[in-house]
Each structure stands twice: as structure tokens, then as C-alpha cells.
Symmetry: C3
């Protein structure tokens, strides 16, 4: 059995068995919820701190619900873009919070690597869970995307998945690739305009495409990404209409994919820029299932790192 995680900062290099244990646990929690069990007490007496240096009400709410449904107390510590967002001041804040006897810190930060820096500086028994750092990792998103695909297509060894859009700035894309590779997905395709593609050597096993029509052909799942305008140089900003024409997901393009292809997006969606409204709201869309799975995956992760 793979050892229990004490922190979760990235899915990179995580053993397949660990990822599968987290997905299995999330699935069990989803089943329990479907049968009416909304609240467990396994983390009663524990305190989870949401430490968000980047505002994100959706993700914070998902973590908050996850922690509460396990019986934990939750404290929100929204720092916005305050001066305490880096360096020694941040570690002083960390140590101050640790000294209050917290059990887990859920952190989001625009600087890649911040969660690992917190792990290195953490002194006591506190667990760190990454809720998104820069363009590097968003591990619970990677897990929930894998869970959503597995729910419909557990035969990962047969699957083709395309990830399309602003891959360069996307922590979601990175965590998706890590999760899906570890779980043995047959083919992972990466598609986007040249300026928004990652370095050639970053994903050696990913097939690179410039043309979305070619990239989507016969895939079993398409993961559309949000344009991360706040992380772009002005020169990287695409014209929205031109972008949609070439890289937007509409019904025509979806028709090129395999029958029943799953349509996914981490949200919030930009309708008419990344995805056509009728596709986002269509029968093949799994976007809201992703959101629902997000709470269960986060419950599984908190349970993993905090269980005694």
C-alpha cells in the first residue's frame, strides 16, 4: 500500500496507487451522499484554514464545504493581494497560524511553488493542501477531472483525451496531465495556439497539436481550459472571436470526437470564447459533475492528510 500523504502540493510523481486510493475514497463519499449521508464526523475537533492569497470564492467554498462535511471547523483567512503575500512575512503568518493549533492549511497563491515553500517552513504537524499555485499545479482539480472521466469511462488504457486552450498558463492542464498519465490514459493530446503552448520538453508524452479539428478527432474526452488573461503578457492576449473560431468548442467540432465524448471545463467558463453555450449546456457536458466531484475529492484529500 502506498504511504499516506501528509501534504498534497502536486500530483507530479504521485504513485498510481495513491491517486486511485483518493479517487476510490471520493467515490465512496459520493455514494454515501447519494444515500443521504451529507455529514461525517471523522474530522471533529480539527481545524482547517483556507489561506487564499488569490481570491477564488468557488474553490474556497468547495474546500470549506468539504471540510465542514467531515466535521472540521473552518477558518477563512483571505489575504487578497496584501503585502503579506510573500517571503518572510508570509512565513511569519504561517508560523503564527500554526501556533494557533491548526491541522491543515489550504493555500492558493499566484506564485508557483508557494505550497512547497510552506511545507518546508512548516514546523509542527500542520498539513498543507495546494488549492492552486501559479501555473504549476492544482492537484484537487486534476483529481476531480480524473474522477469525472473514470465515472463514465473507467477503461483508461483505451482512452484518448485532448486538453485545449491556454496550456502555457494552466495549472489545471499540468495537474490533469499528471493524473491522467499516472492512471494510464492511452493518449494525451495538447492543443492550443503556439503562443499559449508549453515548452516542447515539458510533456514528453503529450502529442502536440496546433489544429483543434485534428486534435479532437476520435477523442473520448475534451478538457477545455480557461484563458488565464491575468497571467498573460499583453502580447499573448488573443482576439476573442479569432480564438473561438480556431480553438473554441462548438457542436461541429464536438462531432469530430468519438461518440459520447465527455465535455469538461474547470470553470468559470467564458461562453462564446472557449466554449459555445449549447455545448456547455448540452447532453455531453460534464462541467457540473466536475464541480460536484470537486467537493468529494477535497473531502478525500482532507481525510487522507488529516486522518490519525
Amino acid at each position: 500500500m502506498s504511504p499516506r500523504l501528509r501534504h498534497l502540493t502536486t500530483l507530479e510523481n504521485l504513485p498510481r496507487a495513491t491517486i486511485e486510493r483518493l479517487l476510490d475514497r471520493a467515490e465512496a463519499l459520493r455514494d454515501a451522499c447519494a444515500h443521504g449521508t451529507r455529514k461525517l464526523n471523522v474530522l471533529a475537533g480539527r481545524t482547517v484554514l483556507n489561506l487564499f492569497f488569490e481570491p477564488s470564492t468557488r474553490t474556497r467554498t468547495s474546500f470549506e464545504l468539504a471540510a465542514r462535511r467531515l466535521g472540521a471547523d473552518v477558518v477563512n483567512f483571505d489575504l487578497g493581494f496584501s503585502s503579506t503575500s510573500k517571503g518572510e512575512e508570509m512565513y511569519d503568518t504561517l508560523h503564527t497560524l500554526e501556533a494557533m493549533h491548526l491541522d491543515a492549511i489550504v493555500v492558493r497563491h499566484k506564485q508557483s511553488g508557494t505550497p512547497d515553500a510552506l511545507v518546508r517552513h512548516a514546523m509542527s504537524g500542520v498539513s498543507v493542501v495546494n488549492a492552486g499555485d501559479g501555473n504549476r499545479a492544482h492537484p484537487t482539480q486534476g483529481l476531480l477531472d480524473a474522477l469525472t472521466i473514470r465515472q463514465h469511462r473507467p477503461d483508461f488504457e483505451n482512452l484518448r483525451v485532448v486538453i485545449c486552450g491556454d496550456i502555457k498558463h494552466s495549472r489545471v492542464a499540468r495537474s490533469d496531465v499528471h493524473a491522467l498519465s499516472a492512471l494510464g490514459v492511452k493518449e494525451i493530446r495538447l492543443c492550443g495556439p503556439a503562443g499559449l503552448m508549453p515548452e516542447e520538453d515539458e510533456f514528453p508524452h503529450g502529442l502536440r497539436f496546433d489544429d483543434f479539428d485534428q486534435a479532437i478527432a476520435n477523442v473520448d474526452a475534451v478538457i477545455m481550459l480557461r484563458l488565464q488573461k491575468e497571467r498573460m503578457d499583453s502580447i499573448e492576449l488573443p482576439d476573442e472571436a479569432a480564438y473561438f473560431a480556431r480553438y473554441g468548442l462548438d457542436q461541429h467540432r464536438l462531432g469530430l470526437a468519438a461518440k459520447g465524448c465527455l465535455v469538461m471545463h474547470p470553470g468559470p467558463i467564458n461562453r462564446g470564447i472557449e466554449i459555445a453555450s449549447d455545448v456547455a449546456d448540452g447532453a455531453q457536458s460534464r462541467i457540473l459533475e466536475q464541480v460536484g466531484n470537486g467537493v468529494f475529492v477535497r473531502m478525500a484529500v482532507l481525510d487522507e492528510v488529516l486522518a490519525r
Copy 2:
């Protein structure tokens, strides 16, 4: 027995029996609290989301306390005046939140009709409770005002009530009229400067007054309204001293009302503009009783819409 409500967006056209059931339930909760029962567990495992597109710490706190005292978890989702406050983006936010398995959404929005739009767009079993939309409805305020009056004067068929001030922009006035009409109040008077009065045909049974001295004569309850400056055109803004002289409630005017006339205001009060300080703090003031009843009414409403 009138059917159980699944949502509460307005009191308009609500059966008298439904309103009375809610008031009876609120009263029972108030009695239980007076005997020391501060917390119930009837909504344990349920999650209530406060979705406030207009800031209102008072009302949000009242709903938050109500939900917690029934044992529910509460998540606050303050959106302020962010870009997600209308149209498709708002429905995407709604669906995202629904997908997290929420049980009720308490919504406040400056746009009239938003709670009903949420009800129409809601897909799952989530209940919507209106915490105030534009100038249209504030149903829990209407209920708490009715409860406050009933506590002192249950003989609604004998009562004269005057509502005075900025009726045009007041969702409180609208919900008060709906509640008090349904409960059979004998006479409802509406008083305010011409520019702040509603359309002639909006309240066919309301008696319209321009002169507050005439309007207050012999009434059993006077409900003063807050000037909703943020909803006024510049031309509608009254001179405050002149407004108080004509439409402010002072001891002299209160003396024209029936003996023991109840003094009410939804708060926050503007002392010296809508109401004199000695009247607001005087023996006939029920303003703080209204606040206390607000929590019990909101408990009753959440219990109504969420009970299995």
C-alpha cells in the same frame, strides 16, 4: 392545510394559512428560545448559502444565525458588485453552487425578480429564499413585521396601519402590504411625498395620503421606511430637514395616532430624518423587537422550505 413552500420569493398571493403557519412556527421558536433553547438540530447536515449581490451585514447575519440555530452549515458567498451579478454568468454561478449539493440559497440582489429567475434556472432540489430584490419584495421582513404587530395586536380585523416614507423604492413596503392584506388588516394607509409614492394602481386597497398628520390619525401601528437614496434619481432626493418636517415621526405626530400605537422601522434608522431619536428609543418603539423576530421568522422559513 396549505401546501409546504419549497421557495420563498415573495408574499404576494401567498395564502393566509401559509403566512399564519410561518408566524406560528416563528412564535414557537421564540417561546423555545425564551425558555433557553437556543439551538435545534432539525437541519443538521444541511447547507445554506448566503448569496449576497448587495452587501447587507445585518440581514446576512440574521439569516446566518437563523440557519446555524437550526443546526445547518452556512457558507457566505459575498459577491458585492462583481461582474457575476447578472445574466448567464449568474446562472453559471448558481449551477456551480447547486452542484456542490447545497440545500438552500438565500439571495439578495438589487435587480427585482432575481430570486424568481434563480428558481426558474435552479435544476436540483435547492430552495431559494429571497432576502430582498430591488424594490420588489423582502418577504421575511414582511413576515417579521406582521409577527411584531400580531404579538401586541392580534385583532388584525380592527387594525389601522400606516406605512410612511419612500414607498416607491421600498421592497419592505410591498411585502408589508402583502402580509397585512392577507392577514385581514382593516385599513392600510400609504403616505409619502408625491415623488416617492407608488403608481396609483399598484395597491388598489391602500388609502393614499400626502399629509402625514392626516395619515397617522388613529392608526394602531406606524411603519416608517428608510429613504432608499441608492435607488433614487437625483431629482427624487429630498431635502432632509424639509423631509423630516413633513414626513418624520416625532412625539407630536405620534400623539395623533391611537393610544399605544406601535412604532416600527426596518432599520437601519436615520435619526432626525425619518424618525426622531426620542421616538425611536421610546416606550412605543418595537424596532428592536422587529430585529429579534427577524431571526425567528427566518428560522421558520428555512425550516419550512428545507424540512424533509
Copy 3:
């Protein structure tokens, strides 16, 4: 036995027995926590409101954790620098909150005396706890500093303590002096630049120093203060490098103190201005113990004022 407190607004004139009871209670809670008891239910059904007119995420979080770990519900009411921060509007807010059946209000305000004004205006059974008012009092900080010293040096009658820095604007200094005097500390020294020292007659028993090297000689604990720039006139603002040279705590100066001298600071620290990093992070630093004790002291205070 000293009578139970209903409010805690200042430590000034509090009997020694009362302070010792609070410290003993905090110590018992700390011991229980060390043995795994993180959560008690003694305040189940009670509601604590954090009413912060000055933002302070650290102190608010400490009070929030303290209240939750006693089983109370917590509502945060952050008013920032809104217009409701003084006078009648503030009392109206107080009365509105009281009418919602709160049990305790934890208040922070930049105006000295606000907590006492709330006590005078409070109508019902609500308890007021001061979380810092102007430059006047921060009683839970005074208690947690005393607890931290007692933990290591319970022989108060032998102790020399120096408080150094911006004493003039420091509510921490005032509450520390009140606590340590009441507990019988042998010698309390006050040190700072002339412009940041209190009036001559404010602390008749405090020994005044201008020279930090002299002030720190042979002391058993040194309490460094934060420069309260937001409370200073522009003329009071010191040059930071010059300030550190004369009043900063570095290893050399710490060497002048008694062996094992405790190093304390209420935080957040300004490294290189009030205290050198190697001292703040050094073996003699008790800064994080102070933070940990803060939660236990606040639990003890809430338990004291709310116990039935």
C-alpha cells in the same frame, strides 16, 4: 473568591485573584489540548460576534478559534472603516445585534474607550470583550503575555521585565503593565525614544529608560513593541535604521539581559526594525508561544464571561 467577570474591557484595577483564575483556566485548557482535547462543548448554543472596526485577521482568527473550540457559534461582522464606526449609529448597530440574541461581542476599535461605551449602552445580557481599543487596552494580550512569562518563570516576585519601543501608542504595553503589576513582578522597565514614551505620571511604578542597553541589563523578559505607525503623527515617525540601531533587539543587546531572558513581541513583527531576525527566530524567542497561549487565554475569557 473574586467575583466572576461579565465583561472584560481592561486589566486595569482587576484583582490579582481574577487574573490568576484566568491564567489557571487557560493553562488547564492548554494541558487538555496537549492531551488531545481540541474541542469542548461548554458554550454549545451560545453565539459570539466578532465586531471588528479595525481589521485584524490574526486577532479575529484567534478569538474565532477560541469560541469554536468551546462549542460556540461565531459570526464575523467586519465593519472596516465604515460610517457606522462611532456614536449613535454604532449603538444602533449594537442594539440590533443584541436583539438577535447574541451572548458575547468581541470588539476592536481604534477609539479608546469604545468597549466601555458598548458596556454602558448594552441593554440585555450580552458580554463585551475588548480585542483592542485605541492605545488604551488589549486585555487578552496582557493576559497571554503574563501566561507566557509564568510558564517559564512563575517566580514573578524575582522578575525584571523591560517593555521597549512605541509605548506611547501601545495598548499592549498598557495591558502588560497592568497584568504584570497585579501579579507582583518585581521591576517593570519602560524604554523608548522620548517622543514615543508615555506621560511621566501614567505608570508611576515603571522605571523609565532612554537607553536600551541600560534598560535591558539583567532583565528576565524583554517585550518588544510594534511601531504603531498608523497612530503616529508624521513628526513621530522614526527613521527605521536609526530606530533599530538604538531600540532594536539584536543578539548583542540580548546578551546584556539575564541568562535565558525571554524574548517576546505581540506581532506581527517588523524584522530588522524592532527585532533582528536571528533573535526573533532564536532559542530564547517566545513569540510563537505567545500566539498559542493567545487562543487558550481567549477561551478562558469567553468561558469566564459566558459560563452560566
